[in-house]
């Protein structure tokens, strides 16, 4: 289905890409359904404290007697939708700004690009921390903070592609036929920007999850008692002997970030013919 829709020749479907897609889709599925089937209320503190993983509590319990498996699964429904939303927001704003800068050029370009330079000049996590701290610690503010630091890369990339496309003959031909600027952007430019931006977005989901969990880990994101992977790991620091408290959320972050990276890498191979060639060469 998916392959036919994207017209991917069979040779392009790589094992890593498929594994990544399966894991990513599984996690997204968990994120949207977890509340319906987890064995325990992720917030109730009825179970024995610091219980090691066993039959009744698959991944043990934490210092407050909450079931880690249930918290982990519902944690997915906190982090993953927010990360996806974050990526979509950055993508929408970043590509729009980049497209306008690249297409209109001159002072518009200058203004918008200096603005993105300003944001990009700061280290991502530090700037996100500053924003989150200034707005006050909450998950919503963490998303805003992460958004502030993540849109510029989309703007940069879109601008450079649009700059290259703008002088293409078919864009000129459209202009000669009386296309309005927005029709040119929609018909002649946008479809040719989609591929690389999609790749960037799928790679960015992993980064967004890391950033959101990172902020929560630092106490700037999700607040107790919300089940969130970063804050779960943060809580594990207090009970270092109970390895299961931190290990499973860590594994969750690891698998989901890697899965989205695998998907992004294989998408890049699909959209970028030059990387195809190099990989085929490496194989033979």
């Amino acid at each position: 289905m998916r392959t036919r829709w994207l017209k991917i020749p069979a040779a392009w479907i790589t094992p890593l890409g498929v594994i990544g897609a399966v894991i990513a889709i599984t996690w997204v599925g968990i994120a949207f359904t977890a509340r319906l089937w987890v064995p325990f209320d992720p917030l109730s503190q009825d179970l024995p404290r610091l219980q090691a993983p066993g039959i009744d509590t698959l991944m043990g319990t934490d210092a407050l007697g909450r079931d880690i498996f249930s918290r982990l699964m519902t944690g997915a429904s906190v982090t993953i939708p927010l990360a996806l939303m974050l990526v979509l927001m950055s993508l929408a704003v970043g590509t729009l700004i980049g497209a306008i800068a690249g297409y209109f050029g001159k002072w518009v370009d200058e203004l918008l690009m200096r603005l993105t330079d300003l944001v990009m000049a700061f280290p991502t996590v530090i700037l996100a921390m500053v924003v989150a701290a200034a707005l006050g610690p909450s998950l919503f503010n963490a998303v805003i903070a992460a958004f502030v630091v993540s849109w510029p890369q989309y703007a940069r990339m879109t601008r450079s592609i649009v700059l290259g496309l703008r002088t293409q003959n078919y864009v000129m031909a459209g202009r000669l036929m009386g296309f309005s600027p927005f029709k040119t952007l929609r018909v002649d430019i946008a479809p040719n920007v989609v591929g690389p931006i999609l790749v960037l977005a799928s790679l960015d989901v992993g980064t967004a999850i890391l950033l959101l969990s990172g902020l929560s880990f630092l106490g700037l994101g999700a607040q107790p008692p919300t089940a969130e992977w970063g804050s779960m790991i943060s809580a594990a620091i207090q009970n270092f002997d109970s390895w299961w408290i931190g290990l499973f959320p860590g594994l969750a972050i690891l698998t989901v970030v890697m899965a989205f990276n695998f998907v992004g890498d294989s998408l890049r191979d699909i959209f970028d013919p030059t990387s195809q060639v190099s990989r085929a060469g490496a194989r033979s």
């Binding site: 297409y103 209109f104 293409q168 003959n169 078919y170 000129m172 031909a173 459209g174 202009r175 000669l176 036929m177 009386g178 296309f179 309005s180 600027p181 018909v187 002649d188 479809p191 040719n192």
Partner: protein, 280 residues
């Protein structure tokens, strides 16, 4: 007779590390239903002139007038309908079609431009037929076509906009020898059928002779010879035109290589010969 296009004392300069004057006070006119060819070696300013005619290049001095109105620069604003009857066919067929839009759709955009000016409308298939392509190609994408087919689609798209002035910037140079003459001939026929003026840019004097009513020879940004094509072909006055004609390879079997025009570039090529201009 009122002129369709009038280029008067056009100057185009590129300002980089040094100032390059690509077009130096060139004047020419095209009447409706006339084919004017612009020939000259690479870098003589032909393409710059073509780009200025459609408004893609800003003139340093001089003017490009289309039906008495100055052609506006093709900026970010939408082009007014009165100027969408100027269409262009580009040199590189690979970048003249949008890779993500079906061929039929792209021709439809040309038809839409014509309808906006009051034309009754047409079907993309008609235009494909007119440029000698099978009508099934409406659902193809550019990458599924050969270079020659792409160029024909680009011509079909430009013609579908029902241009009154068609500017063709070396439309045949990317094609193989056998299709060059047929595409050039087809362009002449289709443009004349529509009553349009055609500005045909080429470095190939042999083909230009076959299709152009009048010819303008450019060298280093200046017009060195102009007038009725047959006169120029049969009796070239300017030394540069003579060199261009003698550079056309002949299948005479003697194995002599034609003199390469730009190799030595004698000083006399740059002189102005008043009797070589506006020959009738």
């Amino acid at each position: 007779m009122t002129e369709l296009l009038e280029v008067s004392d056009l100057v185009i300069e590129y300002h980089g590390a040094t100032v390059v004057r690509a077009v130096d006070e060139v004047s020419l006119t095209i009447a409706p239903g006339e084919v004017l060819a612009l020939v000259g070696e690479s870098g003589c300013g032909k393409s710059s002139l073509a780009r200025a005619v459609v408004g893609m290049e800003k003139p340093r001095a001089g003017a490009v007038t289309y039906r008495g109105a100055e052609v506006p620069l093709l900026g970010v604003r939408r082009r007014r309908a009165q100027f969408t009857s100027i269409q262009m066919v580009f040199q590189d067929p690979n970048s003249s079609l949008n890779p993500r839009v079906r061929v039929g759709q792209q021709i439809s955009e040309g038809i839409r431009a014509a309808v906006e000016r009051g034309d009754e409308g047409s079907q993309p298939e008609e235009w494909l037929e007119r440029v000698g392509l099978p009508t099934e190609m409406v659902s193809r994408y550019a990458h599924e076509l050969s270079g020659g087919q792409r160029q024909r689609v680009a011509i079909a798209r430009a013609l579908a906009a029902r241009p009154d002035l068609l500017v063709a910037d070396e439309p045949i140079s990317a094609l193989d020898a056998s299709s060059q003459a047929s595409v050039a001939d087809m362009m002449r026929k289709l443009a004349l059928d529509a009553g349009a003026g055609l500005l045909f840019i080429s470095h190939d004097l042999a083909i230009v002779r076959l299709i152009a009513d009048r010819t303008v020879v450019m060298y280093r940004g200046k017009v060195v010879e102009s007038g009725v094509s047959d006169l120029i072909w049969n009796d070239p006055r300017h030394p540069y035109t003579r060199a261009l004609i003698s550079a056309i390879p002949e299948p005479d079997g003697t194995g002599t290589l034609p003199a390469a025009p730009a190799a030595e570039a004698p000083e006399e090529w740059r002189m102005t010969l008043p009797e070589a201009l506006n020959r009738a």
